[in-house]
Symmetry: D2
Subunit: 384 residues, 4 copies
């Protein structure tokens, strides 16, 4: 654990004001390592709420804006060296595209929550913009920040399990097992509303994490899929349950389940990857361990921060083994990677990939394409 740090980066946040769960999570994750500090904001789509939230978080008046456009204008008026080092976008999904596009086009470094945008056209536009402008663009698929996920990635991609044959990922929650959106719950409200969440519900909210987890760990592209999306709670406008079969390049098969109607479950993201010589199993709710079933020996329990892990996992820990780390550290690891890349680019060097280890706009775009394809497969009831 090291906290002897270079001067802090400065970030602006869009969204995440009063009562917005995920905005505070981002701020805490950033605060954990102290690598950056909140320097500006447009913290709500409602101007008064934006300003009040900024004051509560200690923003000075000239850095506290009623809208993201105002934030952008104010920043652009400053000399480049005085602008914020990154803009963090934590609004509902429907506004991701205009905001991210505007800041990326103006060469800001951007961090955007997932799913990236609503449509693949938007996603491709954004990828092109980032490519042109050259900024850093991170997407906070936070589960990839867990050390044991990175360990799994290293084991799978290094070939130590042999070629991947089967991948099963499930992301099950229970919080939408009832019609929570009809009770005024804010989270449930926007996540089940097509206007704000787009064409997918559970699939977009958590299925996107599941897809990213598969892609991160295996590196395999999905070639074909057949999906079945359902709104199992009566009256719901978007899917709350999604299951699909996958075929990957090279012949591996897969199953992906994302469901928010599993009454009583909490945040049960599970991954199992089978290679020719072994199988890995990981659960987000017990994130400090990775089970390694082996063809040629007893099952091993790999634990976070133990001496036998690879480089990627080793760099992602703060505490010794047996001292549990959790969600916030994983989230902070994504930010650590983004900030390392920003610093490296500032310094005119290429960051070590194990330091600049974070999901990019390309990952975000692939996720949007995936969602579109799964929705289409379900609607057409066929393999795509």
């Amino acid at each position: 654990m090291n906290d002897e740090i270079p001067p802090r980066l400065r970030y602006a946040m869009v969204g995440g004001g009063h009562g917005a769960f995920i905005g505070a999570v981002h701020r805490h994750a950033i605060a954990l390592d102290g690598l950056a500090e909140l320097a500006a904001g447009a913290l709500s789509a409602t101007p008064e709420k934006a300003l009040a939230s900024g004051r509560a978080l200690g923003l000075t008046e000239d850095n506290n804006h009623p809208s993201w456009q105002a934030l952008l204008d104010a920043e652009l008026k400053r000399p480049p060296a005085e602008r914020v080092d990154a803009v963090v976008i934590v609004t509902p999904t429907d506004s991701h595209f205009p905001i991210a596009q505007a800041f990326a086009a103006a060469s800001f470094n951007v961090v955007c929550d997932k799913p990236l945008v609503h449509t693949s056209v938007q996603a491709d536009t954004l990828v092109a913009t980032v490519a042109e402008q050259g900024g850093v663009f991170g997407v906070t698929y936070n589960y990839t920040g867990y050390p044991m996920v990175r360990q799994a990635r290293e084991m799978v991609r290094s070939g130590s399990l042999g070629a991947t044959r089967k991948v099963v990922v499930e992301y099950n929650q229970g919080w939408l097992a009832t019609a929570l959106e009809s009770t005024g719950n804010k989270q449930a409200g926007w996540r089940t509303d097509p206007a704000r969440s787009g064409i997918a519900g559970a699939l977009g909210d958590i299925g996107s994490h599941a897809e990213n987890l598969i892609s991160t760990v295996t590196g395999l592209a999905i070639e074909e899929l057949v999906a079945d999306l359902g709104a199992l709670v009566p009256g719901r406008a978007l899917d709350d349950d999604a299951s699909m079969l996958l075929r990957f390049e090279g012949g591996a098969r897969g199953v992906l389940v994302a469901s928010q109607i599993n009454a009583g479950l909490e945040n049960d993201l599970r991954l199992r990857v089978t290679g020719e010589r072994g199988t890995l199993e990981w659960r987000q709710e017990e994130p400090n361990r990775l089970v390694h079933y082996r063809l040629d020996g007893p099952t091993e329990i790999l634990t976070r921060a133990s001496p036998w892990l690879g480089d990627a996992a080793r760099r992602a820990v703060r505490l010794p083994s047996g001292h549990p780390e959790g969600f916030i550290e994983a989230f902070a690891n994504v930010y650590r990677g983004i900030f390392a890349d920003i610093r490296a680019r500032r310094a005119g060097v290429t960051a070590d990939p194990l330091d600049a280890d974070y999901p990019t706009v390309a990952d975000g775009a692939r996720g949007v394409h995936f969602i579109e394809r799964a929705v289409a497969s379900s609607a057409e009831r066929r393999w795509l």
Copy 2:
């Protein structure tokens, strides 16, 4: 635990001679309760081996036969009251139909291993024969004999979880992760050989258990499915990996995975059933517990033989809670149900359904239809 028993039933066994794993399992399961004893046999398709096996198991000469036809002939020559009470068929699948059909047609009570037969035509024929002749016909889907599976069935079917919304069942093994059939392994040999196993490999061997587990616990019929079967180990003639999406009558959705290439896994059958008010989770490798996630309270761990279980589970235990029971007791519970039904019919009464609790020829036939449909869906790559 009670072993004060009425006079033992007498059973004949077809197949299960020297070196046949599953035959010995059946005999041990029957021996556990002492409700029946091996009285006759045709223990191998090879006459010399059949006779040698029978001698080793203590059969007298007149009850030890070189073929199942000889067994049938000899039994039919006896007065009905002196014939065996049941015929247990534990041969490879390809011979199930002729043997079961012959004995059922001759009004014997029959117990047959799963999958029942190779084709749905055979299955329907057998169902009709049993219906005509009126004998008992049990199919040893042994996993349904676990007390906690019966508890799950009672909780789901009684409606205490509300209507079923989602079912996920996985049956993963690793023993066929290599081309074991090319090493002379007898089990691997016949299970990967279309001539002896029919149109399905993993799907038939263990997918049939998975389907039966869903059906037993939920009672829901599968209306549609889309399946993806693969032979992921190079050179294999039958599927060693099967995944599918399910739609049930009434709107519930499901996922079924059956795979024998999960390197390092043993016999990992897992079930999760989600209803409106709760979710149940069970794993065959920890069979004495059932996890009950609840919408309205903390998760509960239900344990075998604890006082809060229902009738079905309570009747299926032999030992107090905390004294683990396992595979053999579950298997024996299926036999206990079959024998209870035989005794009841002998006595001219209808058995209590919780006593005569076992999978029947109808379950076996439904399983064969399921296999055919899944194979067709995978071949045609579409929903059926």
Copy 3:
């Protein structure tokens, strides 16, 4: 799994009639392998009940006796070759000594439940008698029959963990958390009654198992101990909770807990043995696995019937890995060892120690000494 057996041995049972839990467990355990059959009995201390129980279990009149003395007399009148091969004693502890002593003195092979007898004088007398007469004498410390306990024994004794440094064993149950003995419960009645259970309650009933488990796995003698016994449920005459510190020959330290007042726990026997290079952990309620923490690598989960186990564990399994075995198989393994020894002696040969693997009268006697010493230490409140 093999059930091709030599001619069955014949055993007599003393105690274990109607309603006696443990007698039925012994009979089921013996039945599992079919190595012996119940041939005679004196199944209760109440003559009428003894005879009725014998009839219910199918004993013929001449083998069904109103008392153990009558059984002994009848057997002695037969030619030696026609006597039973073993006498199984499953009465409450107070009658173990006279019965076991009488049969051992008459050169019968004896199997006796634990704790062996009430006093160390009795125990030493019995050891001497057995030594003189040369019969087999097994004590059913059944937990040592678990394959993974035998695996732990092999790993510890072979030195693969280095010298043993620390042993912690806990045996916690909850069934005596209330004054169950005051409700007429038969089990609770005799186990909390000094007249029938001797000087120790929980310590004798389950602490004796805990001591035996330590001794079996480590082979270390207890040199000193300090114990604290309590009757934590008001009004109880014998201890229901016992804890002690241990010092072993060679310098290892230990802790032993045996308690029956852990409300809500079932039969939670746990063992942890620490050597210089690793630590083993086993729980009776998940008996098919053994956790191996290692100084020089990831933790391993060893599973029953997996290929990497040693000889002792391999011989103690009936089913493949992933097919759970439990309490009854472990119990049956103790009997299998006893019967193997009886057969070997009959054949005039020395049995392979891994076949004749069972706790002997010496183990039983050591357990009685242990109980006496612990009771004295607690009474005198000092190290002994």
Copy 4:
């Protein structure tokens, strides 16, 4: 998760410079909530190292001191309103007393790592000083900051389990299974050195946590104990293994184990508390769950942030259920309590006890008395 905060408190740190593990943990824990910032320091006993460490952490020159005395002098020269709000002491144990005593005597609020001091005389002196001067004095028994520990405390102390009957706490680590101190390892060096760690090794380092956990959860005073301390790794000067039996006021019994030689274990702190009507079990390595075994119903798994928890646990969480929190959040909860008390006193009010929820100098002193008593019991080999 809320990060809208009042102006930050300012703290000074003594010890915790370059390479000191625990100092960085304290700083990260404080940073997580942003309630206070590092404002001054004397970060090492070596002046040059102290100053270099302070610079690396961004301390200004006038707040960066070569020794704790210099820090104290500088602070005292300032007007009271400009002094730091708290002094955090994270030096090896031998220097706790002079530093803590000096700052407490000067009316500073103090936070001190555990164990508090070397002798009970020192501890009592410090208690008296704090009582006279009236400052806040927190001791960082960080494990009591876990939400599920606070839940256990509420359940036990509210009487919902009935009177406590038995407590078993084990704190097992493996990092001192070899003579690590002879390899130059700094942590191992001072923790096994009587000059710096006092009379106890494992007992002081982790046994103190175990004692505090018992005391926190049950509120019961230890009346008598018999302890056995050993240095099981050859050549070690202080105990690396400690076990003891406990008797509590009111009749409950207990067992405490603290050992650092459990090869392969990480940081395995476990607690089990048995009351008349139920038993609670908690493991630090899976801190988000608390198992509740019940006399009158199925076992419950209580999870962090679930709706059925009490007030104390509810206030101690930052993230929703299923989003794992760990060690750093628990540590931060202790600081949150300390800072809440400081703020309340500043405001002249009494803090809500559930806000000002932290171990005090009285807890620290009780821990020192406990260590002395256990060392004496082991040396005299008797109950004390």
